[in-house]
């Protein structure tokens, strides 16, 4: 099939993706996993989806490390597959969405360099599913100062934003500016590249992205509101969301009750009602963030059912897969650290 615009093979890709989405671990699998020790989890994974990776890496690593490496490898494999399946415009959408792992990797590297972590340690946390080549990531990981990381990225789309943020970082010594710069550069590049009056497929993609931005803003706003810290919320704000602009956000963070009220009346009111109830009853933010995450996953699933032949199933799958990897890692690490079943259960987001 040629790769001209308009020849996107939505039906083929969404069939494959939905099949994979259905094959992800469900509640029962998690219930089993939670009751296992690290060794048993590894054995369980050998009999599932992760068989190839577990066998390939089994001779080199063991225990929780093996699980973690297998998870990352599997994630990268599946996301590469998506790019291989998709043609035309769909391929472009997926490629641009997967750049979020580039953003993730940059943030990980910056944090790693900031805390003087071992090269190997940083490398373990990278998810090689984005656009950056392995060689480039390796070079970035090897750098000794944040300045050289910023310099090496100067030719990428994060270049100018990072250079600006670096000045702030030099003054304050806090990473927040750099991390926000990466997030903002990522989202604005993604949304900025689309025409003003997009086609139907693009409009759908934009809608999903804006939902993601909104949820992120809500989370940041609530964290700030709860922590009571004297930080300007607009520093964390990512523009282009559907829900609010910087001024609104600043006002709302000063008054958490108003914020929940505002969310209840918003477009996501119905999707978020469960999460909001939880927020009002629970003291901790953790429950709410989990509920928020769940709502975002469910939102993508709802969109999938509404528009089966679109980008939605793919995004829903990418998010769900990411979540599964996070869940399994949380279980394995939690078991290793000796957490109780209940404590681990609290960390999981199961849809």
């Amino acid at each position: 099939m040629n790769a001209t615009v308009g020849s996107a093979n939505y039906s083929y890709v969404s069939a494959r993706v939905r099949s994979r989405r259905a094959a992800l671990f469900d509640e029962n699998d998690y219930r089993k996993l939670i009751r296992m020790g690290p060794g048993e989890i590894a054995r369980f994974m050998e009999e599932t989806e992760y068989e190839t990776e577990m066998n390939a890496l089994g001779s080199r690593y063991d225990g929780v490390d093996l699980i973690e490496y297998a998870l990352n490898e599997n994630l990268a494999k599946h996301f590469d597959d998506l790019l291989r399946f998709a043609d035309g415009q769909l391929n472009e959408y997926i490629a641009s969405y997967l750049r979020k792992f580039d953003a993730w990797n940059i943030k990980t590297i910056i944090r790693g360099v900031y805390t003087d972590s071992e090269t190997q340690e940083i490398q373990d946390d990278l998810i090689r599913a984005g656009e950056f080549s392995d060689a480039m990531l390796d070079r970035l990981v090897e750098s000794t100062s944040i300045e050289s990381v910023v310099e090496q990225l100067s030719k990428t789309l994060y270049g100018s934003a990072l250079a600006e943020a670096y000045e702030v970082y030099e003054e304050t010594g806090v990473l927040v500016a750099l991390e926000n710069a990466v997030d903002r550069a990522f989202y604005s590049d993604m949304l900025g590249g689309f025409p003003r009056e997009p086609s139907e497929g693009t409009a759908m993609y934009v809608q999903l992205l804006r939902a993601e931005i909104d949820f992120r803003n809500v989370r940041n706003a609530l964290r700030l509101a709860r922590s009571g810290a004297e930080i300007d919320p607009s520093e964390y704000f990512i523009p282009d969301g559907r829900l609010f602009d910087a001024d609104q956000l600043r006002q709302l963070t000063q008054n958490p009750d108003q914020l929940t009220e505002y969310l209840r009346d918003s477009t996501y009111g119905r999707d978020l009602s469960e999460a909001l109830d939880e927020l009002e009853s629970a003291d901790g933010l953790i429950d709410f963030e989990r509920a928020l995450e769940k709502a975002l996953l469910e939102y993508a699933d709802t969109m999938t059912n509404r528009f089966p032949l679109s980008i939605c199933p793919v995004i829903a799958y990418i998010r769900a897969k990411e979540r599964e990897v996070d869940n399994i890692r949380a279980i394995a690490r939690g078991k290793q650290a000796g957490l109780s079943t209940d404590e681990i259960e609290e960390e999981l987001v199961i849809v």
């Binding site: 939505y10 039906s11 890709v13 969404s14 069939a15 099949s19 994979r20 094959a23």
Partner: protein, 90 residues
């Protein structure tokens, strides 16, 4: 879509020709042939995306082969309707 519009334009030109002339341009059999051909094109368009989705599903899970095959050939019924027209007319 453009193919469909062209076909419609073609048919409407034939029909208007037919209205003008005493001798019909298109005999019954010819009309039936066009009906059959159009129905086959319709089935092809329908099977295009069903087929690719079915291949995708089968690639993920071999058990989908039977249901994939059945779903793929369902639009063939459209061709059968076209064929029925041929028998009715002749």
């Amino acid at each position: 879509m453009i193919e469909l519009q062209l076909t419609l334009a073609f048919i409407s030109s034939i029909v208007s020709d037919v209205a003008l002339q005493a001798q019909p341009l298109l005999e019954n059999k010819g009309a039936a042939a066009i009906a059959f051909g159009l129905s086959a094109i319709g089935a092809g368009m329908a099977e295009r995306s069903i087929g690719s989705a079915a291949v995708g599903a089968i690639a993920e899970d071999d058990d989908m082969f039977v249901s994939g095959l059945i779903l793929t050939v369902i639009p063939e019924t459209i061709v059968i309707f076209g064929l029925v027209v041929v028998f009715v007319v002749s």
